[in-house]
Symmetry: C2
Subunit: 787 residues, 2 copies
Amino acid sequence: MATSPMQTDPTLSPLPWPARDEHLTPFLPLVYVAWSDGFLSSTDMERIRTALRDAEELPEAAVTILESWLQPEAPPSPCELAALREGIREVAGHVSRKELKSLVSLGIALARAQAADEGGWATAKGQQVLEGVEELLGVLGAEAARDLTAIAEEVPEPPEPAVPFEPEALRRVLEGKHAALSARVMDLLANPEVRVPDGLPTPIARERVLAATRRIAAEGLGGLAFPRELGGEGDVPGSIIVFETLAFGNLSVLVKFGVQFGLFGGSVYQLGTERHHRALLPRIASLELPGIFAMTERGHGSNVREIETRATYLPECQEFEIHSPTPGARKDWLGNAAQHGRMATVFAQLVVKGEAHGVHTFVVPVRDDLGNALPGISIEDCGEKVGLNGVDNGRIAFDRVRIPRENLLNRFADVSPEGKYESPIASPGRRFFTMLGTLVAGRISIAAASVSAAKTGLTIAVRYSARRRQFGPSGEPEVPILDYLTQQRALLPAVAATYGLHFAIRDLIDRFADVEGDEARARVEVMAAGLKAYASRHAQETLQSCREALGGRGYLAENRLGVLREDTDVFTTFEGANVVLLQLVAKGLLSEYRDLVGDLRLWGMVKFLGELAGEEASRLNPIRSRRTAEEFLRDSDTQLDAFRFRESRLLHTAARRLKHRIDEGMDSFQAMNACQDHLVHLARAHVELTVLESFREAVSRASESDGEEIGGVLDMLSDLFALSRLERDRAWYLEAGYMEGGQTKSIRNLVNSLCGELRPFAGVLVDAFGIPDVVLAAPAAFNDPAV
Amino acid sequence: MATSPMQTDPTLSPLPWPARDEHLTPFLPLVYVAWSDGFLSSTDMERIRTALRDAEELPEAAVTILESWLQPEAPPSPCELAALREGIREVAGHVSRKELKSLVSLGIALARAQAADEGGWATAKGQQVLEGVEELLGVLGAEAARDLTAIAEEVPEPPEPAVPFEPEALRRVLEGKHAALSARVMDLLANPEVRVPDGLPTPIARERVLAATRRIAAEGLGGLAFPRELGGEGDVPGSIIVFETLAFGNLSVLVKFGVQFGLFGGSVYQLGTERHHRALLPRIASLELPGIFAMTERGHGSNVREIETRATYLPECQEFEIHSPTPGARKDWLGNAAQHGRMATVFAQLVVKGEAHGVHTFVVPVRDDLGNALPGISIEDCGEKVGLNGVDNGRIAFDRVRIPRENLLNRFADVSPEGKYESPIASPGRRFFTMLGTLVAGRISIAAASVSAAKTGLTIAVRYSARRRQFGPSGEPEVPILDYLTQQRALLPAVAATYGLHFAIRDLIDRFADVEGDEARARVEVMAAGLKAYASRHAQETLQSCREALGGRGYLAENRLGVLREDTDVFTTFEGANVVLLQLVAKGLLSEYRDLVGDLRLWGMVKFLGELAGEEASRLNPIRSRRTAEEFLRDSDTQLDAFRFRESRLLHTAARRLKHRIDEGMDSFQAMNACQDHLVHLARAHVELTVLESFREAVSRASESDGEEIGGVLDMLSDLFALSRLERDRAWYLEAGYMEGGQTKSIRNLVNSLCGELRPFAGVLVDAFGIPDVVLAAPAAFNDPAV
């Protein structure tokens, strides 16, 4: 460094600053930047020095000094650089912001501020020389100047577009006719008895959860679906709304509630007859009789038809003997079993006089009033789970347990005292799937609860992302992380899908309430299976995105995203493993709802496959006229056409693939397995079409009755849902020749711009979910002092 | 039902069975199936009855009876159907399996078994009538017959292809030169002191984790990277292998270990000089001095350059004053802070004589020997986290805490007693990123640990899926769920990617050990950032798939998949949030490793953008000659070409998009944000190319030295990795015109068939990870009695 003139008086003025030299001062910002980030190579430095030597306008003395400042082998000391920066900043305080458009204009402004001669040499002759050097530096001059001076560009903040409606107005659109009930349940969730905090030790959590469930039952919300004459209100849709809303609270309470009233109570109600209803429903609704739904076995989860528990009729004493013949026959995963349940509805293979009649359901007492297991009943605790530890899951095995003949839930089949088996349904398959079909409300409920969990996660993540700032343009304040494209993409399409699923599930609840006839019932069952699988996957993915959207903050238990993810994780598995449910959906579509819903076996539907395989797929043309214009792709008819084409094409090609394999002699089970990914894709495509149709109807209704503004925002959201799903599946559309690369790229760009358009509404969109702070209970979302 | 002849003597023989009627018996299987699953409509029944009436070969009396059996308004009773089934089964026990090829052949066989006349009428004349009825039923006759008789088709089980090598042989390929060290650490993991179980209450977990870390330190494994003269072995690669292997055990122990030796010890070693090394490293290596790495602040995680903690030099007493000026300046997320740490390396903005010199690192005592916080130090516990609760994370604020001048870690900058700031690196940016760059070993370590966690999850999930059976072909035993395509797709590509990442990270460790020169160093830093982001995402996705692959069993805490997912979840966030790291990778590529690694600002690299934007993308042609043949797509050169084309094209288009926006006057920060998804895609493409290159080299090495069999399996795995990634990104290849729909469909089919080919090797592939049962500790994977 010895050769550098900067060394002459290092303590006072290491660079000749304030030099008041009209030739040198304009170069100072360039010199600073040349050194400050150290990305100039020796070659670059040499090029700059050559340029200076060639500049005739510059006096030789100045060239000599400048050259000495730019020797790679003699860099300035850090102190010199720091002093230069501080000196520039001091003078820069007096120059106007518009002088910051490049390093050259900054240099000239500095010279002008120092000298009386308005910048002298630089303005008159040297500007070209300076600009040559700036170009050689190869930096963005304006930003380098802002960075150096720490003076922000004078860009007025774009005014936040006013949101022309209150979140409450949008909430009314979401809740519709169920507004009063969901508000009532939401109030109840704020009640300290019901508000069980996360993370309690398991024994305490279990008791708190039981107490909370009792409190909810005391409000009459447990038996809502039961008949009026037995203390209920005959309100099946209402019971699902209650479940949906409880899902904003502690999810162990939700599942405990679902086990008691939906599964245990529901099986007694749906599979039993008056004698069971009168004796049990009032005690179930009040939680006087805590119960268990004992279907799944250790060896058989998805394949319920092959469960091994046996119920043998003994005509001599008019009793059934319930028995678990193998370790795999032990009933598993039963909520309420480890601790609180007194009675169970047990699914078992009925055997009468040596003849097997398939799976039937029996009411079996399992504990006495003191909570001790009854003789022949052995109960294990499942132990700690990944989540939902407030629910006492357990396992039960039966050792030749006797129950009265009347304990058969006999709505669909009965055994006479002398041992005659009777059923209004001759076909064993149809009988079995009719029994299982009565449990469809459970799948709809899980779909609805999944959407609620996604709403909670998104409320936390969107609110945090709008407040948390990190990084920003040079010299400006950091920006909210919700302004980043990747953050918007992680959250806003999920908000859109959450809205769409909300509307679709509400429509399904209506349809379920009014269902009549076999085909309509099959449609409801297929839709319930599809929406359960799709919504539970959506919740899982959304909660993971939300966790990551909060960065480290999302990893704190207090912000609840981990707990929400862990508690809802099993939603993808229980009430039907998703991959099995999606295959049921595909099979329902392939048989046009004529085959048995529930049965995964294919051999009975070859004729349907033949019909479908023979038909042409929907004749929709590839996206019309290769248009990529925004208004065309944002047209909901374009989107619906694309969704319909996909479902139809996947349906017909699946039929053809299956038929082809079967015709070649492949076992139908193997044929289905070979096409499993295709069938799952078909099912997802069907669900997405269902969601988009419901979403569009909701947009129309809102535009008519709730005003243009709300309709407009929902319209954008619906576009974002449709386009983000088309984007996700664009490979398929390209392969099918339905779209071309130009169109799929336009769709991607549109998703990006829709995220930007919806950004100002993000807050109101999650506020409309209407989750009070006390229920949300996540500090990061509302009261973190230092985001 | 009154009209049905089946009703005549319901208790004895409801259907005329054994009828010994040569005209009726052959129809019985058809009649059973017509009723059994109830999917025949009235129209279908009518068609069958018409066919029977038209059959001249059938006596009128038989037609009348058959017609009466097929009246939709008079179905058989369930008992009649059950009796018919049992009757058929009884006789069917005597017919040969090859008679089960249709319902007709079963019917004829039944007649033959009953009568002496070899089937009489049916064989001679009636076969066509029977076949007509079977066709109208529209079922798969062979499967219906197997289902009805419960006799399995006689298909010999395909012999399990013998795996021609032991898992140990494959393990040697994986471990290579580090085999001894990783075996030593694996042994240590089986030690009861080190084996901390999951799910302990937090206070106990913290003490057990500390004790385990002490035990590991006592083995000399903590200070492996430190110089020999200070008790270490100077073995940096070895220290990463230790970390990688510890990741098979309790992950809180892993992170505690990483905080103490990697972050705290590493920062003292890398940023300090001899005075710090001598005084501290031996006590750090022995864990006599538990320490804290205090970089992140509440307000600044990713944007470290803007942290607010200040270190002001006071020349009058030759001390620094460490101070947290705002709530956002509080150091956050510090491992070891809540309880055990005595000293911290604190990152703070250095101010000397009023001049700011950027972020520097200081050694600051925080607790006395009794564990009490020192004056001016306030410590909070972060509280419960989503996972890793055995690590005592905390927050620290400094209230004008004084430390001696010598506590500045002064490898890259120093302050003289009289207050002169000195540094061999003039540029403040380069100085900052050089300091941060020394922490690259941490990112490599997290990448390696992520892969280990994925190995644990896959070992559990593959072993379980090979044992658990559910559903199966008609009349046959249920099949292992690993035989299902969706299960294979969920697990086997993840196994392939895990192998690829393993090899890539091992290569990076080698490269890191030998690195020399700025550009090589930049390449290592970029690769570390990319592999950390990619591997941590891979672990997260894989563990989720594994959890779901176990169904409900995966939701039991004892099977560890939940804990693994929760503990590794934060790997996507700490040591650099993934989305930030991926942008660093993209920026490294865009500047061709010439710009500062670490700096996300773009203004300094406009010249590099200009160069790249001007160049043509790699001139690789679209996939040659539109070939879809298997051997072409399975050729690793084809795959490498495709990966290289993608990286190159994404790089050049990114440069052009950025340059275009900047030329139009957009702020470079906004320009980067507008292209954020593109940059992230570029980074991922780069990582995948890196992984594939390492994978191919490993395949070549193994084929040469470890035999054809091992080489062959690794070759298939590498194909599966490459093709499954191409499949995932096929939309991009289609859009880019590099592939056509026929090719991408072939790729999908190939992924499916590779899954099938690798299925027999699934067990040995996970066994080769070499995790002993006692370390794996998941009952479902090895000792669950009733899967």
